[in-house]
């Protein structure tokens, strides 16, 4: 699984050689650290002492970034996070350009409301990542927890653009309220993927959990590795070969997804739904030969 994402990274940026500003976590702990505002557009090109003096939230306190991270500058290609980042939240929040690389796992709210640029995570990501994302690309070389690309609490619309590729599995409610964009998952997807979806596309190479697409108006959920349970409000329409899927497969192949001929040329069962909502969405299930 890892090799796919790493191939992509290597092909695009030669990640191990990429030079930029590296933030290494000085001490691992359980107190949440929030790095919103620490973005390539604000960090790259600045001097070390300027970066060190940026303010970040650590628990209830506001500290200098230099107190929490060791800062090293050896280029301006990317912003690199190193260390155990499980408790580092809001990496790439509101990001609009540039590259962020996380060497390890990342905490909650990564890529929240980002509208451009690229985030590579060479590990897992926490819950509620990429909420209301508007553009850009997120590549996760591990698993993602619940509510990937979902709306923020109190809102109806989730992801509104961009591409999320996960080379592991994803938790529940992935793509909830999704409005536009692509979420591709190489592993399995938890229950309630694409609930209340308005548009957009979710592609799951592994097993698709129960009750996917509940309440969806439009949009597509593509199940390539079987479905746990289809809601009764999804109705079988036909079996056919959707031409547009070929465009998605070509697109995902460039990210390193293993698109076989069976997927590319295969037949798909089309279920339309959710008929308890607008009913113009679809679930396409690969027919096994």
């Amino acid at each position: 699984m890892q090799s796919c994402a790493l191939c992509t990274l290597a092909r695009k940026f030669s990640v191990n050689k990429i030079k930029g500003v590296t933030l290494t976590l000085k001490k691992c702990g359980t107190i949440p650290i929030e790095v919103d505002g620490v973005l390539p557009e604000f960090v790259l090109g600045r001097k070390v002492h300027e970066i060190c003096s940026m303010k970040i939230n650590v628990g209830k306190e506001k500290l200098d970034l230099g107190d929490v991270f060791e800062v090293k500058c050896d280029g301006d290609e990317a912003l690199i996070f190193e260390g155990d980042m499980n408790h580092v939240k809001r990496i790439g929040e509101l990001m609009s350009s540039g590259i962020i690389i996380v060497r390890g796992s990342a905490g909650m709210h990564l890529g929240e409301r980002m509208n451009g640029g690229t985030i590579y995570v060479d590990g897992d990501i926490g819950a509620r990542c990429c909420c209301e994302m508007r553009g850009g690309t997120v590549v996760v070389n591990g698993d993602a927890q619940a509510m990937l690309g979902s709306p923020l609490p109190g809102n109806a619309k989730g992801m509104r653009g961009g591409t999320i590729t996960v080379f592991g599995s994803v938790g529940t409610r992935t793509g909830e309220g999704m409005r536009r964009g692509v979420i591709a998952v190489l592993g399995d997807a938890g229950d309630f993927a694409g609930v209340n979806m308005i548009a957009g596309t979710i592609v799951v190479f592994g097993n698709l959990g129960s009750n996917a697409g509940g309440g969806m108006k439009r949009g597509s959920i593509i199940a390539l590795g079987g479905v746990e349970k289809i809601l009764p409000t999804f109705l079988y329409a036909c079996t056919y070969k959707p031409t547009y899927l070929r465009l998605y497969f070509n697109y995902l192949r460039n990210f390193g997804f293993p698109v076989t001929d069976d997927l590319f040329k295969g037949s798909y069962q089309r279920y339309i739904g959710d008929v308890s909502s607008l009913g113009k969405g679809e679930m396409l299930i690969l027919e096994k030969p």
Partner: protein, 296 residues
Amino acid sequence: MIFNGVEIDDTYAEAFSMLGSRLVITADTLELAMTAATSATGFATSVIGCGCEAGIESELDPARTPDGRPGVSVLIFGVSLSALESQLIARVGQAIMTCPTTACYNGLEGEKEINVGGKLRYFGDSYQASKMLDGKRFWRIPVMDGEFLVQEKFGVKSGIGGGNLLILAKDIVSCLEAAQKAVKAMKKIEGVILPFPGGIVRSGSKVGSTYPFLTASTNTPFCPTLRRQVVTSLPEGVNAVYEIVIDGLDEKAVRDAMGVGLVAICSCDVISVTAGNYGGTLGQYKFFLHEILKNM
């Protein structure tokens, strides 16, 4: 100038600015893609009579098409953005969407864009669906064998219409042989089309007519049957003339096509080659035959 025993007239082809678009048509088989392409480029020989000039540019391997199926590339030229848009909508809607298993994509990053899929989508009667991928929008229109997939916007680029060669020979057989050989060579050049039937024109035209209601009429100086009735452009011994008209996406493509065409013609039994112009007063582009041959 004599090239390979053939006299090349010291003149130029006068060509005009046009707007061009490229369609990439795919289908389950190359035959079906070609059927759609042939149909979509039918009755598109001249902007004056047909509203646009269109032709098949090339066949495309599955590796060169967006959906990995066999495809055909088509170029369509028009005189204005609105004229081109209405032609594209009509031709994609009537000739490509109707053909089994086809899809139609934009094949040109142009200076401007026209909306084709975005207007054809209404055929879907509210059941059409759009997909936005990598910054491009596609429309899925439900049809009786599944879905017709069409890109929303098609790029438009300034192109050139009316590059031409006139082949003068002793009879139809030798003239046609030279024309067909030239067409075969010219079709290999990317970015050009030869919009007339088989790439060859028998009824070349001149501007104006003895009839006030007609803007163009038969090219009398090149009609062998009128040799003693009008001022002729035909040397003695010429009994047949064919014209090859070339439209291209840029000057280089037209020049290259004319070059390989000239060389092919000069390998045949023809008397001379010339080109049509209006004294340089109408067209923005001049393609001098001697210069083209010297650069080959």
